[in-house]
Each structure stands twice: as structure tokens, then as C-alpha cells.
Point group: C2
Chain length 213, copies 2
DNA sequence: AGATTTCGATACGAGAGAGTTTCGCAACGG
DNA sequence: CCGTTGCGAAACTCTCTCGTATCGAAATCT
């Protein structure tokens, strides 16, 4: 029996243990390169090894192909979700969208978002994983804000959550991507999107039914 | 002087004229391959030549590099804009978004949209051209609908056109891309987006000011 | 000490594709 | 008919990358 039991009780093989530092360097290098705009197709194992200061062997020993590596690399991204417990739904939504806006100015975020989006068709695993780790937590946070608003009456009780989220996130994405008024989206996009949307999301006072044109 | 004057007065060089059929075949083959999900990076000149039944020479004689070819290929796309002169703003908006929804089911449209989006950073020329030829005409049509609505009073007079377009298009894009309730977006996304948005866009009757929470 | 495994470095063969050139034929103008 | 240019096909040289193998050194266990 050549194993030894670690504190956690997991079996450990004999020989030199794998370097966690190398593993981290590989993942970081991958994200770096992707963040510089290199597509998954152009991304070469050799360039990753060079950037990470690591032998190719060390990469192949861990991942059998490029897609696996990219998937794992994306999986390490922990999306910093801002704390959303402001005074009003409007405040929380603005806070949330402001994060999206600010991120859209970062090369790295843009590139990684591009990759996730453009590979959703041909590499379902990658897209699925990305959705799980990067999108869903945020969606949950946003959903929480909307539900809170619907309970307090700040939002219509019959509001379609999914649709509201699509409108908010989608508007920001469309705006940051296709609006070419300048290099960056305007300072106040977040407020403007939220206010525009809230006019529809906000519950209407019973004395003021929507007009019939 | 070895030129001859064509009807249009343009000079024409001696020798065999370039084949328009070959040119079209090349562009078509390029769009075909891109539409099958092949990224610009993986797209090889040789595969284009093979698909088009054409020699590589014939391609290199016209385009000096791959990006130029892709740009020109995308430029041949004529987005079919549906006639928007319905009875109401709502009808027109639904018609418009329905086109987007239906297109999102087509592999080809998805792939080409992916390419345009994911290359907006690294290949500004490509993205710019795509915006001109594919996006702007549609934006203009959509803008027309909104303006008409603002004039007739069906929409708020102070509506932010750009924001409204971002909300409508963005919501549809977000929904078709990230909503994984099924392979396709639900049948009635268009109506639901429009109705949700209109609740905000629609002008409020003077007797019914928005509530102050 | 000895066994075992990983480390980074380097070399290797195989394959794909780029971009160029050549070839024989076709299409056009004069 | 002749010069010019385009055509498709093929061969060619280069470069890049993959994936594997090999090396001596290092790290860890027994």
C-alpha cells in the first residue's frame, strides 16, 4: 500500500505532488490571453504554457484538451455581486446595472462575455457552465430585488420576473455593445434604463388605470 | 491606350474580365461556412475555395486577406425589413420583434450575429460595416415607429428613443440568447416584451400621474 | 537511500493552412 | 491572330501548432 492518508482522509499517491501554483498560473494565463481578445480558436496551448512559465507537459497532464481547460478557467471566475439591500428597488437596480456598465469598460470582461456568447451554439458545455457560475448568481440577486419590490408593492404584483430581467440586462447589453455615441456608455445609462423600465414595472395606483388609446 | 470605355464611362482593362459568377460563389461560400458556425479564425481560404469550386488564386486576386473578404461578405447581407405601417404602434413593434425572434431560430442568423458581436472589439472595421448595413436600417425603421407613436400621442412625448430601442432589441436578444427554458424562445415573446415595455412607454393620462412611492 | 511522480525544457514528427508560383486553357480587345 | 488578363488546378515553401517523448532536477513517501 503506497498511499498515505491525509488529514481529510483522501488517498494521496506517492511521488512529487502536483504544483498548485503551476495550476493557478495556467488558469490565470488562459484568462489573461482570452481577456486580451484572443479567441478560443486562436488560443494555443503553447502560448498558455509560455505565458504561465510552465511546460506543455504540465498542462496536458491536467487537461486533455483545450475546451476543458477553458471551461475550468471560466469556472474560476467569481462574479463580484454587489450587495443589494438598498433603500428602494430603484437604488438596487441602479447599483446592479452600474456594475454591468462599469464592467463593459473592461477589456477582459468584454472578451470573456464575447466568448461565452459566441460559443453558446457550438460548445454547449462551455456556455452552460458559464451560465451556472457567472450568470445565475447574478440573476438570482436581481430576481431577489424584483421579488422584494413586488412584495412591498413597489412593483406590480403581476410583473413577469423573467421578462423584467431580460429587459434590464438586455437593454444594458445592447446599449453597451451597439451604441456608438462614444467609446463608453454614458455615465448615467443605469439610471436611465431603470427609470424607463420602472415606469412600466412600477405598480400603478388604483385611481390611475392605464389609459386606453 | 488599351482601355475601352464602357457605357458607364469607366475604363476597362484589356484581357479576360473577372468572373462575377466566381465572385458571387466565393462570397456565398464564405457566408455558408460562417453560417454553419465556423468562426472567422477557423475559416480557411482553402475551404472557401473548395466550397466555391474556385482556385485560391481567384480569391487572393480580389481580397488580400481574410478579414477583407469577410467584411465584404457580410456587406452583401440585405436585412429584410418588414413593412412597418400597421394600425398601431403596438402592432408594428410586435411585427418587428417577431422577425427578430424568428431569425433567432435560424442557425445562419445566429452565427453571423455572433461573429459581428464578438469581433466588435478586435475588428472595428468589420463591426462598423455590419452596423451600417445590417443594424442601422432596422434601427431607422424602429425609430420611425416610435416617432410616429410620439406624434400621435400613443407614446410619451418625452420618450428616449435610443433607450426605448435598446430596451426592445436588448430584451429580445437577451431572451433569445440566455433563456434556456427550451431550444427556442416562446411563441409570444414579442408580444410580452412589447406589452411590458409599452406600459412604460405609453403616455400616461394627465389625470393619472405616476405614483410616488 | 530508494521509489515514484512532477517539474520545466527541449526536441520531434505530423498535419493544417497560408500565401506564392507555375501550368495549360479560356475570354476578351485590337 | 496576338497580346493581355482571368481561370482552376496543382505543387511548392513556410510557419504554426499539436500531441508525444525524453531529459535531468526536484519533491515527496516509505
Amino acid at each position: 500500500m503506497k498511499m498515505r492518508q491525509t488529514a481529510e482522509g483522501t488517498a494521496r499517491p506517492a511521488g512529487r505532488p502536483r504544483s498548485e501554483k503551476a495550476e493557478k498560473a495556467i488558469v490565470d494565463a488562459t484568462l489573461d490571453l482570452l481577456g486580451e481578445g484572443i479567441g478560443v480558436a486562436e488560443l494555443s496551448i503553447e502560448s498558455i504554457a509560455a505565458r504561465a512559465g510552465v511546460g506543455k507537459t504540465t498542462i496536458y497532464r491536467r487537461w486533455s484538451n483545450k475546451e476543458d481547460l477553458v471551461v475550468d478557467a471560466l469556472a474560476t471566475l467569481k462574479p463580484p455581486i454587489p450587495p443589494l439591500a438598498g433603500l428602494s428597488v430603484r437604488d438596487d437596480l441602479v447599483t446592479y446595472l452600474r456594475v454591468l456598465r462599469d464592467e463593459s469598460c473592461h477589456q477582459r470582461t468584454r472578451c470573456i462575455m464575447n466568448i461565452a456568447m459566441s460559443h453558446s451554439d457550438r460548445h454547449p458545455r462551455l456556455a452552460e457552465r458559464f451560465r451556472e457560475i457567472a450568470l445565475e448568481p447574478r440573476r438570482a440577486a436581481l430576481r431577489g430585488v424584483l421579488r422584494r419590490g413586488m412584495e412591498t408593492g413597489e412593483l406590480r404584483a403581476d410583473l413577469d420576473e423573467e421578462m423584467a430581467m431580460a429587459i434590464l440586462s438586455g437593454a444594458m447589453m445592447w446599449y453597451t455593445r451597439w451604441n456608438r455615441s462614444g467609446p463608453e456608455p454614458p455615465e448615467d445609462v443605469a439610471e436611465r434604463i431603470v427609470d424607463e423600465a420602472l415606469l412600466g414595472f412600477r405598480s400603478h395606483s388604483p385611481a390611475a388605470p392605464p389609459p386606453m388609446p
